[in-house]
Symmetry: C2
Amino acid sequence: MKVSDFLKRLLVGRKLASAQLGETLLPKRIALPVFASDALSSVAYAPDEILLTLSLAGMAAFALSWEIALAVAAVMLIVVMSYRQTVHAYPSGGGDYEVATVNLGPNAGLTVASALLVDYVLTVAVSVSSGVQNAKAMFPFLAGNEGWVAALLILVLMSMNLRGVRESGAFFAVPTYAFMVGVLGMTLWGLFRILALGEPLKAPTAGYDVVGTPAYEPFVGLAVVILVARAFSSGCAALTGVEAISNGVPAFREPKSHNAATTLGLLGGISVTMLAGIVALSNLTGLKLIEETGGSHFALNGQAIEVPHETAMGQLARTIFSDFPIGFYFVITATMIILFLAANTAFNGFPVLGSILARDGFLPRALYTRGDRLAFSNGILALAGAAIALVLVFNASVTALIQLYVVGVFVSFTVSQFGMMKHWTRHLKSEKDPKVRTRMQRSRLINAVGLTGTGVVLIIVLASKFIYGAYLAVLAMAFVFALMRSIRNHYTKVARETAVAPSDARMLPSRVRAVIVVMEVNKPTMRAVNFARATRASTIEAVTVSVDEDEVQRIVEQWNAQDTEVALKVIASPYREVTGPILNYVRGLRSDNPRDVVCVYIPEYIVGHWWEQLLHNQTGLILKTRLNFMQGVMVTSVPYQLASSKYALNRARRDSAAAWRQPGRGQVRMGEALDVERTE
Amino acid sequence: MKVSDFLKRLLVGRKLASAQLGETLLPKRIALPVFASDALSSVAYAPDEILLTLSLAGMAAFALSWEIALAVAAVMLIVVMSYRQTVHAYPSGGGDYEVATVNLGPNAGLTVASALLVDYVLTVAVSVSSGVQNAKAMFPFLAGNEGWVAALLILVLMSMNLRGVRESGAFFAVPTYAFMVGVLGMTLWGLFRILALGEPLKAPTAGYDVVGTPAYEPFVGLAVVILVARAFSSGCAALTGVEAISNGVPAFREPKSHNAATTLGLLGGISVTMLAGIVALSNLTGLKLIEETGGSHFALNGQAIEVPHETAMGQLARTIFSDFPIGFYFVITATMIILFLAANTAFNGFPVLGSILARDGFLPRALYTRGDRLAFSNGILALAGAAIALVLVFNASVTALIQLYVVGVFVSFTVSQFGMMKHWTRHLKSEKDPKVRTRMQRSRLINAVGLTGTGVVLIIVLASKFIYGAYLAVLAMAFVFALMRSIRNHYTKVARETAVAPSDARMLPSRVRAVIVVMEVNKPTMRAVNFARATRASTIEAVTVSVDEDEVQRIVEQWNAQDTEVALKVIASPYREVTGPILNYVRGLRSDNPRDVVCVYIPEYIVGHWWEQLLHNQTGLILKTRLNFMQGVMVTSVPYQLASSKYALNRARRDSAAAWRQPGRGQVRMGEALDVERTE
């Protein structure tokens, strides 16, 4: 095997038979982990961010963590309730983009789409960064290189996804359940040791004081409100990913909507329980965190002291499993894996959303079709590139990245809830059955509460985080929005320009004049001649350009030796130019016969390596590019497959086989679900 | 004007009417400066390099500079005599490459070509570097940034040449004669002041001692021989560029050969005089140079002392025109300009040689044709890139670069002289006229002396400089040789593979089956349909792929609304793939009708900006690429010019107009001269 083949194989993966395809609908017990990794994994960093933010006001503020966790749980309840309505109303798995577009129009949909695209990037960046931060509990040597480690992990994810890794339900189920078992087990065991056995468990940071910054130190007034709002906003990161189930309804077993709604409820319950458990244990074990860049610091007996940063998850696992190290390793490993899976979820969702946006003309059409590897590869590369840039710029600091996060999710939530209200209002207009009307009115009320709740949270998030980084997310969304808008405008303009008129079908050219470009008299040229003759054009002529007199004489002699029945014209070229004289000749043919079409036949060498391409076809390429600008001129490439072309053919076959793999994913999100049903 | 247009205009230059073309044959007084800038400019650095090298052996060695200058002058005499024979034997302006190829075969020609290509790069690097070193006499602040300044100057040269700057004879004549007047005037004035007026003129460095390195300090034995050989080798840089006239014979007025031979003699005489003058003045004024990296240094009263480096030209001009500063500025300015012109000469010669090599199949065919901007642009970019790399790596140190230089020139000299000997021997075989035979035998003798002389110098150059850098030049030549060899092999292989057989003209396909790819029903598609119908193929069918049921239904309805008389086939695509199903369909058509040809019509959007290209034609492009690998399938692009395409058309026209300018250059070298005659 050649080295280049080997490298390619390594990156893109081995050829897979299409028989390996196939998809089954998901039972609830598999659907939960498939859709939940994103939502559950945020438990790994949301509590930390609440505590970190509160630390700015010093020790006393930590007492508020309970209230904030409760507020987050309340929002979670509202969001879950609201999305249960969406699941019932859009059993086809509309997703927020569809809900917004259908009910509020394309600009609302595009707003949601921009928010989601930016948030996919942030999901990758935040999840991988949090994974690296948690990994430091097990591998302390990672400290100092977090950014590079995170970038490396994103590269691994990228190549996994470029290879088209097959994720079965089990691939998700095992680590997700392991994470749930680990965190809930840790919570129960911790509560048992503290409350039942009365053990005085203390977190590693329990012994320190936390000194806040002067801005918040007199813990009163507006400053408190602002700080609590910020802590709450960061805590709302726990809600990201909840919407995933509403996109995946078609992947559920029947009754789809019912099962999806139940799973959504389960997900909300588990998520809130885990969040509450971690906050409770943090309070009970005296766990403390500081925000170093913000200005709070640890102190011991009034002296500032340096303590290596460790996540809440890491500290709790260390404390609660102090006599059972396997438990510690289990929890940390499961946390790292689920964060990695959450990032992987974005790698699936991003290109799928891209495909839907391409369908609607907001992204290049080429991204629409599925089997084409192109679509997914480009999406994956774009996502990985943006996420790597973020983790490097912010050195994989979850605290810094979280300031940009959450904005997109709540934009999406809010617009979607508004769309749902419109949805019910519209249906209520035509619905007569009073029982159905009552149900719809109830749903509308729930979505109204959802809209109010998520809208208020969005305002809080924007207000409290704007200067800390949320403005970057808003700028990115605006940029993506404007870009997609202008792509759509371009397509609309082109569609108007190219719309068929009734007369188009009757504008038949009267004749076709075939012109064969002859550079040399060889098999490719003779093939072009034979093909041109087979088309029975009205006139067929071959043209060659006289660049060198000896050469042209040789060509003419060789031509005459062939029994082609096609005359060869020699065009003079005093300046040794090739394309200009041919273009002029074709231009002349056209203007002499304005109702005819000219078809230029160019023999093309099909080669196997990129460098061979540099040695052939260059003149033909320039000629073709220039001819394309002439009205009424077609260009026909007559390919001649050189022996070396088999390399390229094999390469193309391999790529294509890999691309075939793409639709067969277990991880289903957004419109992807459509195929799942169809391929049953 | 848009910014991008403005930048492009700035770089590539404004549109030029082809009426500005035209060429006249050169009288001797113009031909001399046109062809001499390269050869004469080396006077600016060759004496320096002799003195620098000798400085390694300390003060005493400088006395040898006279002998070395005489030896260089002797070699110059031999080379000029030899090339006068070439000028008479090849009045068509063969050049060393032609002489070697015709008389010694393609490998010898290729050796010369490799040597010349590498030497063009070095001419640019050395000339510009020397220009920067000399400029330091006027602009001392350049010291320390020589590499960057040189790189910048090469960029200026590059964009001048990409713009297709028009160099009239006057463009060369003024600075070349100014340089000759300056240097010869300075020599005469200096000799007059010293010898006639008896003024004790002392160079700025006259007062210092030079301490050599221990390796050469006891100035005896083999070490002396080696050092003198190195100094001589560096001095031979004065000979570079002498061969230029032999390439340009056709550009001379009648009698061409006679005038060219006279000019060659003049050039040799002037060059040797200038070299001798500078060495004489250096000796008389006590001028000293040191090679800092080599280990020699200045000393004052036995103490090592730091003296800023100044070229011999700079020191002499400063000393001799001590009471006439205008003279100083005149000499230095003329020196800088002629060095710049010498570098520019390479920018003309490199692509012309590339064109000749492309004609013979050693470089991509696309580089052959002239008018095509491509050929020249690529050559200019390659040359500039390589030269910039050299000046940056060697920080524009002439002393370092000169170690790589000269090798190529003498390879070319030696092989060419050997070719000339073969030339005379061959002609002597058939020549009967005793008078002509005598003349031929005399010419052969001169070329034999030339071969011996240049061969010995080549050996001296290689032996004395190999470890100091000449090995790099040899490696580069070997690489270029191998590259061109393998390109030629590729073309030969392809030519064998594609050679016509007598039966090729009779292998007519029985039928043409037209397949129109329909993505949407719009004007481009209808144009493709109409064109396909006009070709009167045996069968015509339109195919579309069912990616989305609603969409395909809309397409079918729109299709039926059009009165096309062509049936639309819908191909199922369960995995939302587009290219695969079409490829399979065409493959099926082919295998069902193996004697027929399939012609696939793809509507192509012609757009005006590169980013629009990303939004269109992607699927068509993939389809075309894959179809090209199928035997018996033609692909016809039916272009549809969108309104925006006029931008690209205007751009293409502008480029093309600029390209037309290229042949009209006053600077003629190598095969370029062919056109000069023809365009009279």
